[in-house]
């Protein structure tokens, strides 16, 4: 079995987190995160997750008439179809669903949380039950801070007095609300 591909992990992470690839690479943690997931779950599970993701993308690249679109360009993907395919093929799956949820939490919180006990019982993960900190930087780079327009407390200082200003929440999180 070949090792899980970094590019495919990055592509999966884009769909799971709704952050662009540039932003994910900009954390400097994409490779350490892939290593964390592999160490926790083993390559077989990670490969199955990436396979399911690739299949979900291929599904979303098929248009309404059932014709294969020539290029699965991310911009051309049917977002609703992709959303449904991810739910069907990944999130509702007993084996890879919990792992995918953990990958989301890993990106947002910078922490690998324990997988559920029943998952451990069935699939026998190695360090899946532990909560290792990935690196000290992972806390600082957690996407949750970006999502809420705040800095991680105690790190990435935003400048003296900046706390008196309202948070800068990106437009895409506002759902049309005004700042």
């Amino acid at each position: 079995m070949t090792a899980p591909s970094f590019e495919e992990f990055l592509s999966l992470s884009v769909d799971l987190t709704a952050f662009e690839e540039t932003a994910l690479l900009g954390t400097g943690l994409a490779r350490p995160y892939l290593a964390t997931v592999r160490a926790a779950c083993g390559d077989e599970v990670v490969t199955a997750l990436l396979d399911a993701h690739r299949a979900a993308r291929a599904h979303a690249a098929v248009d309404a008439r059932g014709h294969d679109r020539a290029l699965p360009d991310p911009a051309l993907l049917d977002r609703a179809l992709l959303d449904r395919a991810l739910r069907h093929r990944i999130f509702s799956d007993d084996r890879i669903g919990p792992v995918a949820r953990n990958v989301i939490k890993l990106w947002y919180a910078g922490t690998w949380y324990p997988l559920p006990p029943e998952w451990i019982d069935c699939y026998g993960a190695r360090t899946a039950a532990e909560t290792p900190a990935v690196t000290a930087a992972a806390y600082q780079e957690g996407l949750l801070w970006r999502a809420i327009g705040a800095n991680p407390p105690g790190a990435k200082a935003p400048g003296y007095g900046s706390w008196a200003q309202p948070p800068r929440i990106e437009d895409r999180y506002l759902n049309g609300a005004t700042k």
């Binding site: 690839e21 540039t22 932003a23 900009g26 400097g28 990435k156 935003p158 400048g159 900046s162 200003q165």
Partner: protein, 370 residues
């Protein structure tokens, strides 16, 4: 008397505009090396570069104070204020280029050249002809076309002499609005105290401070306050040892320091927007940085033109620029053999000269060439 000399207030103002651009021009190279350092590594090198970069910001503010004191209008949005890199800087008889580089022996060598104290061998050698190959030249003479100074130190020596000469003829030279001065209540923790300029004495003190702290004429390893001059700060990275008070120029005797040259994001040297894949997320991130940097320069221009309180907001901008810098350097730049991306500092010029008319960051995606 040569055509280069400074004869009136207008000459002084044009020299001080060049001085502001010169002080600023060192900051992008220092920041590129600084932010190329990977987190939690190279703390010695990071600290040294950071101290110098922050002091350059103080120098920029000091020049703005001198300019305001004689009735000029600081403007960091002038075309060419941010040079396109590589840019030429004088270093005695030979010019050298300043690139935007990751931390590396080459980068430190450039930094040493930028900060090396150099005195012209004689008065006639102070002004030299600029090379004619199209690259921007820093420390040029705004009054003698095609000429540049022997060194940054000589450039400042010329301004100080010019100030003394013009002030002697014009008792109203220092009639600028005192309210435009950036005082210590607005600028602090910046590597020395800011000097409020109101007369010839304070103007000369401000300019001599710049020359003594870095770039300028040799005032020894340490200055009167025991501060290490910039050139010697960087020499520590080359020599692998800290200076102590009393050390000879090439023989620091303090604790050793080491630089892990490999723990660095290898960013592309003097990357340009044209190096980024057209239409990519990464190209947009690089463009966003430049637009944000332009907005930052607009804000500084307002701060130096009567609203010094805005320097507080500028601090917050600097932290956001830091985050944008970090994002770029952690991204590989496609098609560059594994090198990483970095800000290009190609500043959009399409907003016109009026800082009040400039849009906020993120509003312009075109007009980035100069």
């Amino acid at each position: 008397m040569t055509a280069s000399s400074i004869n009136d207030r207008d000459d002084l103002i044009s020299y001080l505009h060049v001085a502001m651009a010169l002080e600023h021009a060192t900051i992008p190279p220092y920041l590129t090396a600084y932010y190329s350092i990977q987190p939690t590594t190279n703390s010695d090198a990071a600290h040294i570069i950071r101290v110098v970069a922050v002091e350059e910001m103080l120098h920029l503010t000091l020049v703005a104070n001198v300019l305001n004191a004689i009735g000029g209008r600081p403007d960091l949005t002038r075309p060419g204020f941010v040079p396109s890199y590589p840019a030429y800087l004088p270093d005695g008889e030979t010019d050298f280029t300043v690139e935007l580089r990751p931390l590396s022996p080459e980068a430190v060598e450039t930094f040493c050249k930028i900060e090396r104290p150099r005195q012209a061998p004689n008065a006639d050698a102070r002004l030299l002809r600029t090379p004619d190959d199209g690259n921007p030249v820093l420390a040029f003479s705004p009054t003698a076309e095609g000429m540049r100074y022997y060194s940054i130190g000589e450039f400042y020596a010329e301004i100080i002499e010019g100030l003394e000469r013009v002030a002697a003829d014009d008792p109203k030279l220092f009639s600028g609005d005192p309210a435009l001065q950036v005082g210590p209540e607005y600028f602090y923790s910046g590597g020395g105290a800011v000097i409020v300029v109101s007369d010839l004495d304070s103007a000369c003190r401000a300019l001599r401070f710049i020359a003594a702290q870095g770039e300028g004429l040799d005032s020894g390893v340490h200055d009167a306050d025991g501060e290490l001059a910039h050139y010697y700060r960087f020499r520590q990275l080359q020599l692998g040892r800290y200076y102590q008070v009393g050390d000879a120029p090439d023989a620091p005797s303090g604790p050793p320091l080491s630089v892990a040259w490999d723990d660095v994001y290898k960013v592309k040297v003097s990357a340009r927007l044209a190096d980024y894949p057209a239409g990519s997320e990464l190209a947009r991130a690089a463009l966003d940085f430049n637009v944000a940097y332009r907005a930052f320069l607009v804000l500084l221009t307002k701060a130096f033109n009567g609203r010094p309180g805005l320097l507080q907001d500028a601090v917050c901008d600097m932290f956001r620029l830091r985050d944008g810098f970090n994002l770029l350097v952690r991204n590989p730049l496609p098609g560059s053999d594994g090198l990483h991306a970095a800000p290009t500092f190609e500043i959009p010029a399409a907003f016109g000269a009026d800082p009040e008319a400039a849009p906020a960051a993120g509003e312009s995606a075109q007009g980035v060439t100069r």
